[in-house]
Every structure is written in C-alpha cells, then in structure tokens.
C-alpha cells in the first residue's frame, strides 16, 4: 500500500467533491492503528453524477484508460462492488455502493480525519466495528475487537 498515492487519491476525491466514505483497514489506520493492508475501501454515494466525479478524480491521479470501464450502470445496478487496480500501484481500490442488505452509503456514519493536511472522510469507529464484527476473516474480527476496546464501544 502506497501512503503518498493513497493520500493523492483521497485529496482528489475531496477536491472534486466525490461523496465517499473510507472504510476497511485504511479507515482503521486513520482512526489510530497503523497496520498493513493492500486495499483502499471506499463507499460512494450511488448517483451517476457521483460516479462520474469519482472517475474524474481517479483520472487526475492515474493516466489509465481502464478507468473508463468503471460504470455507473454497474455500480447502481447488478455490480455494487468494483475493484480498480491502477497500473504498477501494488494495491487496489474497492469501490462499493452497497454491502449486501446490511449497509448502504446512507447508513454509514462518518467523520473528517486529517491525513497530512488533507481532510478525508472516514467511517466512525462505531460504524467500522459494526461492519467488521460479523465478518469471517480473522483479521477483520481482530480489528473489530481492537476498535471496541479502544473506543469503549458496547459489545453487539
């Protein structure tokens, strides 16, 4: 995972007015626990205009014709999860408009967190806990437990 590249992507999201929320491991990092990860997970508001802003922001960072393949029809329809892998980046960006029946963009509580001079939108610890606690991966469950202890969240 490339710290500077991640920062550039999120700075561009902010600059271009993308409605997004960082969740997953990068969000856990930004909430205070540095740990390795290989993807940037973002929930985006499910509108055509927002998906176009997202694509424009990605194009500003990566000169990559593959970005044209990210489609609002997919994200708003049958394919609510799209992985974008930039050339030679060594990480992927997971773009979601919904997560099963449990989470939609509108359901996520978020807050602004400083990322070296860029104010980025990140899921709150309580939201991260709810998203991670029911998953199968041990790493996610460990994150959930660490979040619960750190932020004194009630056990759910």
């Amino acid at each position: 995972m490339d710290y500077e590249l991640t920062k550039r992507v999120l700075a561009e999201f902010e600059r271009q007015g993308v409605a997004y929320v960082v969740f997953g491991a990068v969000a856990v990092n930004l909430q205070g626990l540095a740990r390795a990860t290989e993807d940037l997970d973002v929930f985006v508001a499910p509108t055509r205009e927002n998906v176009e802003r997202l694509k424009s922001a990605l194009r500003a960072v990566f000169a990559d014709p593959h970005i044209d393949e990210i489609s609002a029809d997919d994200l708003l329809g049958e394919y609510p999860a799209v992985q974008y892998i930039p050339p030679q980046a060594g990480f992927h960006i997971d773009i979601l408009t919904r997560l099963g029946d449990a989470f939609r963009y509108e359901d996520l509580e978020s807050e602004k967190v400083d990322l070296g001079g860029v104010s980025v939108t990140v899921a709150t610890p309580a939201t991260l806990y709810r998203m991670k606690k029911g998953t199968i991966r041990l790493k996610d469950r460990a994150d959930a437990e660490a979040l619960r202890r750190r932020f004194r969240l009630p056990e759910e």
Binding site: D2, L30, G32, A36, S71, A81, Y84, I85, G90, G100
Partner: protein, 80 residues
Amino acid sequence: MGVRKFRDVSEMEDTLWRVPGDPELLRAIASTWAFADRILPRNFPPGVYRHRSIEEAKNLREQWGDADFKAFRERRRKTG
C-alpha cells in the same frame, strides 16, 4: 523507554493506538505500509473488476494473494 508491565496481552495492543491526525500516527502508517511492501510486494493485474457481492471480490483477492505467495516461495526456493 523504560519497562512497561501489562496484566494481559490485549493491554499491550492497546498501546499501539495513536490519535487520529497525529503526525506520529501518519509516520507510523507510512512506514508500516512501506515495510509491508518491501517484505511482500503485491502484484495485482491492473484493470477494473466488477462483482455482484463483496464475497466475489474477496475470492478474487484471495486468488491473487495465493499466486503472490506461490511466487514468493518460488523466489525463496531459487535463492535459498
């Protein structure tokens, strides 16, 4: 730093947390990610992949992870 004592291993992990936005946290994130990239560089096939569910996306990610790990072991085998 002096000796620190803990009643439980889980208390040790709690000391790893830093304050959001703190420059010390951001330096820790940058160095942790850079270290992970050095010890196991990831090789994902560039492009756009669409999935009906997050599980589908995770399955594909695991396939890439397995391929990377096999390549890593192969490199280790060749270099001894």
